[in-house]
Amino acid sequence: MSQTITIDPVTRLEGHGKITIQLNGQGEVEDAHFHVTQVRGFERFSEGRPFYEMPSLMARVCGICPVSHLLASARACEAIMSVRIPYTAAQLRRMLNLAQMVQSHALSFFHLSSPDLLLGMEADPKIRHIFGVAAARPELGRAGIGLRRFGQHIIELLGSKRIHTGWVVPGGVTEPLSAAKRDEMLAMLPEAYANIRLALDWYKKIAGNFKPEIEVFANFPSLFMGLINEDESIAFTVGALRLIDSKGNIVEDGIDANRFIEVIGEAVEPYSYTKFAYYKPLGYPEGSYRVGPLARLNIAKSMGTPLADKELAEFKQLADGPVLSSFYYHHARLVEILHGVEKIEMILNDPNILDKHVRATAGVNRLEGAGQAEAPRGTLHHHYKVDDNGLIKWANLVIATGQNNNAMNKGVLQAAKHYVKDGKFTEGILNRVEAVVRTFDPCLSCSTHAFGQMPLALTLVSSDGEVLDQVVR
């Protein structure tokens, strides 16, 4: 008799999803799926709106990474306007995106994943959360809060709001940076450096305790994609996409936003509202790839900042070629935080950073435009078509979580097959299957949240619908 195990909802994620694990009559795992159960509809309800409203509208997709949507959307609009934004505006946007990356990565690492890393996958779920971290290692909790505050406060200083700022507009930004705000940001840097140093040193000490998880947490060959600069250093806001294979060979290079749809397709599966992106020449699902911190570090030859470059060199020693285990997303995330702090310091010390010319203006010069940026979770692509009056006729968003979707599903299956034996599971096994998804830090729908406490129930159901066993926490 076949059985299905359901984890619904999966906890400590951005948004709401569930996992089902299908067992055969012998209690062996046959299949597993990660379902995204929300439907959004932003692409449809933006139709008919003026294109210049799109950045502010699209930022509402997400409460964690609205900046990425602002930037990808603004760049798509600038393609429609055919303008190049002023240098200082580009630098300020870079800083905004890096600040968001720092605060989002800090949320993922410290608030969502550090309970597993510090207290263990088998720890009692009653203490396996941020309070458990606070009690066991308060300095880690403070470092996480400090880095979140660092990123959020820079966003607030630049855009006047911590979330959903309207500061980024097609053509640049609405306000230049003042000297007082620049100095306030510079004063925050020493604490941010200390916090990320503490986290990196701690992570590298404990990572060796997770060798079994490293082996089976979405550890398989795949393609990797991310933005890089012309000098092959990591890029977050402006750059072109590179796609490499699992051996490190370059498969595609210099993919700008307009070429994106030439090489990337999207498939649909009946069990999820999130699409499944794939590299067209290999088809679906063979052309599935990974994006985000792990992919970016696999692709980049350098971070472009001295301290993060040292960490990148160490990271690349983890494997002979691209690092394949998704457990290492955690490590890559910390390296990116360090890079973010360093790069923000470099930008703040740019002699042109207080320049007042921060916005270019133009009308509709093309009827189609696309833009891309790196969100904390990976590459984000916006693509719009407008009529002669600049009203949106069609929009498509390819988000990072969709691009990691197939890898997450494969990873859940890999872990379930490894841990679930004879149809039996424990709370620790349940947590490990969830933790595979957490490594990707998927953003299912940050702008909607559950009201109250999120329960987690794992149910074993027979093929005729009978509930055989249930674990609730």
């Binding site: 906890t11 400590r12 608030h111 969502l112 779920p125 009653k126 959360h129 941020i130 309070f131 606070a134 009690a135 308060p138 909790g141 403070r142 996480g144 809060i145 400090g146 979140r148 505050r149 660092f150 959020q152 406060h153 979330i163 004063a187 925050m188 604490e191 949240h449 559950a450 406490q453 999120m454 329960p455 987690l456 926490r473």
Partner: protein
């Protein structure tokens, strides 16, 4: 960056697009105007309370949490002391209640406000729209009177900050 120390922190929570859930932000905006000249009063308003606020709380001598109460009689105004607590299993880690935030302040920073109060207004409706239900609308003057009196009382007490 260290958060500014305050004698009285007013910490509001709510979503103005969910009808009565917006009562916290509404009262916070009123408090910001009322105490604009008081450097000892700090007002923070968020859609949801997140762990970062633990640092602000730890640096304050007193705190008044402002929120709507989904399970209370619509329009009922209640002011009560609140103690560290909570730590419910399965926490989503994005949103905390007042007791959980106090607990986090204590765990992480070893510091708590001397006095912590929770002011709640019973919600009549949490539908997807702006504005308030009749019950909450009628309770707003009383809610603000209670808030103002509580803040005045906290400010009248001896300053224990070093």
């Amino acid at each position: 960056m260290k958060p500014i120390s305050a004698r009285c922190l007013i910490l509001a929570c709510g979503n103005t697009l969910r009808e009565d859930d917006g009562v916290g932000p509404f009262l916070a905006a009123q408090a910001e105007r009322r105490f604009a000249g008081e450097s000892q009063v700090r007002v923070i308003c968020r859609q949801q309370w997140t762990p970062e606020l633990a640092e602000d709380i730890a640096g304050s001598e007193s705190v008044v949490f402002l929120d709507c109460a989904a399970n209370a009689r619509p329009g009922s105004v209640q002011l009560a002391p609140v103690e560290p607590g909570g730590k419910a299993p399965g926490l989503a880690t994005h949103h905390f209640d007042a007791a959980e935030l106090l607990s986090l302040s204590k765990e992480l920073y070893g510091s708590l406000p001397r006095i912590s109060l929770l002011l709640t207004i019973g919600a009549g409706s949490l539908e997807l729209r702006e504005g308030f239900s009749e019950a909450v609308l009628a309770a707003l003057p009383e809610a603000f009177r209670v808030l103002e009196a509580a803040v005045r009382d906290l400010l009248d007490q001896p300053d224990h900050r070093r």
